[in-house]
Amino acid sequence: MLVLLPLILLTLGALAPLFLGRQARAIRLVSLVFSALALVAAVVGIAQAPQQVNLPWLPALGLSLSLQLDGLSMFLVALTALATLAVVAFSDETERPAGYYSLILLMAATAVGTFLSTNLLVFYVFWELMIIPGYLLIGTYGQGPDSRRAALKFLVYSLVPSAFLLVAIVTLAVAAAPAIGHLSFNLDQLLAVHLPAATQNWIFLLFAASFMVKVPIWPLHAWMPDAYGESRPQVAAMLSGVLSKTGLYALIRFAFPLLPEAARLFAPALAVIALISILYGAWIALTHRDGRMVIAYSSLSHLGLVFLGVVALNALGLDGAVLQMLNHGIYAVALFLLFGMVEEAAGTRLLAKLGGVAGRAALFAGFLWITVLAALGLPGLNGFAGEFLLLLGIFRTSQVWAWIAIAAVIFSAAYFIRLFQLTAQGATEVELIRPLRLSPIRFAVLVPFVVLMVYIGFAPAQVTSRVQPVAQSIARLEARAALTQPVGNYSWEASRQ
């Protein structure tokens, strides 16, 4: 039952504020406690994994509450709890606090649900539920003048693919039913079925498109600038740190293993899209005047690299992808939250108007600095460990992809250094509306982030050794697909080793 604990705790935490009325402090405290407890449960879960829970629900429909905690999901569950804790700690007074904190924890709970479910319908339910807090947090608790429009855009970009996704899931289960003997949505059973290539192809397309929107991957990212820009920094942290991972996770967990031949068929095309994401995001991040948008587009670029690692279809790439999902979650959440503090203190997020923060708040600047270094992939910190493994996996599949993708590393250095310098250094000193002081709670919450950046940087094996079994089993599926289907379009890659 340990598997369920983070999910239960976050759900309880989402419900609790509703009983506390307008007592803002109490609500925040309760949310903090529940997300901290969920984090503890998730960390214990890492020690106890792998675990599985199977509760029959509606057997006739092939429905069962199947939850699984393994190398793929355990770090993402822990990341979600950690991100939630930080987001709560970094949230200030707000109107209608009960709703705000409740929605944050609900978003976390539904995300954890998607990470744990191994029944496709249950997964789908969590996936759909996740849209509600997202929509409301962007819209009603938004910050920008256009937040309602942004929320609507998010809603549409979520609901339309969901419809596709449902069609794809049902088609998959129906197509697999004869082989299984009954209708089943269980991943384990579905994995054993080999579907004909034509069926695989279009189910894969629907899967991939729906999941890629959530990451997002170019050109399905049009909702992202609005959603990240119009919402509060705390919500942007949640969207980028946690929600984006659900899309990548679903690709790794469902789309690629269930439809390996289709994955192989589309891999080169998906790689092109991933490469465009990587460069496109990096290029925009390089010149954007808005600091938060620099972080947003850096996510487009970095998650594009993770996607490319998945598309590389080998164990190294997958291993690196999971590691980097965790890493990105850590540094992106910290970046959005820290920069959010600057935004709130300075009343602007235009980089040209910021500067000189380091002189005012050395400790704060120190945290921002180490986070930026982790994000730009400095060896010794976590971002590098993931990037190295990812690029190595990509390199193994295609040197051309790796050569292009690695350009993003140079861009990354340039735009993150620019972000830091324009915020913290330089001759201009920004007028601060309020002091940039880290409260004890915020300080305490930031410490584990920094510890993780350093620890994973030095001992990534702690993560990768747990991911490897899953990565290898998925890679084996893909490799088997390569044998059953000698795909012509891989021949252009004769150079790969």
């Binding site: 596709f164 890629m212 390089l286 010149t287 060896p379 250094q425 330089g426 990768t464």
Partner: protein, 622 residues
Amino acid sequence: MHSVIVLALVFPALGALVAAWLGPRLSHRQITWIGVGAVALSFLVAVAAFVRLASLPPAHRLIQDTLFIWNRAGATPIHFSLLVDPISILFMLVITGVGALIHLYSAGYMDDDEGFGRFFWQMNLFIVAMLLLVMAGNFFFLLVGWAGVGLASYFLIGFWYTRPTAVAAAKKAFVVNVVGDVALTLAIFLLFVNLGHVSYQTVFRQFAILPIATRDLVAALLFVAAAAKSAQFPLHIWLPDAMEGPTPVSALIHAATMVTAGVYLVARAFPIFGLAPGVATTIAWIGGFTALFAATIAIAQDDIKRVLAYSTVSQLGYMFMAVGTAAYAAGVFHFLTHAFFKALLFLAAGSVIHALSGEQDMWKMGGLRRAIPLTAATFLVGTLAISGIPPFAGFFSKDEILGGLLSGGQVGLWAIGTVAAGLTAFYMFRLYFVVFGGSARTKSHAHESPAVMTVPLVVLAVLSTVGGFLVLPGGYNLIESWLLPALSRFGPIPPLPPPTNWGAMAVALVVALAGVGSAWALYGRKAPAVEPLHGPVYRFLKGKWYIDELGDWLIVRPVLWLGSVLERFDRKALDSGFNQIGHLVAGWGESLRPTQSGYVRRYALSFAVGVMLVVAFLSLRP
């Protein structure tokens, strides 16, 4: 012994941590003890390792220590392992020895700075990263150190972070260095994917089995990395700007140690370059071109530190000429003497700047040999050494390179190197005469620096004087006999250096004296008040061949321009473009649902169009 060498890293790491954590609460004196002490202890470890190595039979001079598994890439573990052999120990001794002297000097130089604690922890951090770079037992941790020194260098160039020029220079240095990091990463990938390993020993043993194209590619990538770190043309652009950092930083990082990392890499990975002769030749020629090119620029610079910066670029070019022609011992020898005399020159220049309260324009100086005689004397020693005047250190090491080139049949490279040597003598004595000769050009109250600064100057002056005696003309070559067993451990033994080429030595000496003579004629005898040179060539050299402008126009501006274009595209075209298509498609629905909000429909349709485009693209897969 096995566990001891890691202490060389531990001491400065602790120093950095303590100074960073407690810095604000410690006095300058305490920070000095911690900062200098950490590096001095590290130096003692290096000395102990050196003694240990020397006591071993030549073929077994190797200390290896594997500490833990960093990560597994598939089945292959990547170890955190250290390797100390005759090559790395020389670098370690210089890094910690010269490093300790420069730390000591900094205690005086930075005493007035409110960032004193920050300065010391960042300097200690640099020592850690630099030691890791030379002590790493595999390419992976070489990369970690490689990027680490880039970071420390970034920190220290931008030390005065409220100065826009310093911030810009730091960013430029970092980005150019990352280009090198990326090249090194790609080289490691190639080695890993082809050989399944990244440890030096395995890679060097198996490198010969790779196809020629792969070998050349690996070697070329390693060289790009080396060129970025060691400021070889055209990746030299960051180094002159790096002079924005405090002068001790320029001495330690941008003269004595970090910028020689590229030389270390080529010497370390010599079995790779030995099997990629085409790349090696290219290295030598780029080194030769850089040596000459940077020397011509140094002639026309007015900032005392910029002259020294270009002279560093030029001297690094000499080292690459040597290692590119497989004269590894000569290259390492020149690294050693250069570390002494260039650190000396920078620290003496720092003493001048300190004495004049921050003035760096040499045309506002003059007559300083009377005001600060000790600084002047030590600067003169450094100038004599770099100009190749016997018996100072630079004479021997430069001759070792030039003589080797001529004897090896590289007449073109030899000629370039010799001309550059003449230019070196010219611009260095120009600098000396303008700064220390004649009389003061502006009023100043120059005062000699405190002992904490002058003692390191004197020690380095002594080393710059006697350092060359490790190799004497006529076959006495301590460096060679020290390095050869280490070099011959893997694969082919590099060719023995040819016997002393007395002809090359005589020519070099005459050319150097000619350089000194012309500097005397132009700047020494009459002590002009302003630069007597002018004309288009002079302006071209003063403009640094306009390489910065060229890079700005060819790379920086187009990249930034495309960035802003994409940003506009993303904001307008992609978004509203999809919406527009949605509108067209939605036209028919207008009459059916007149009351519905337009947004939902538009987004839905724009999204659908997006998905359709993706699906269409995927269906037209390559």
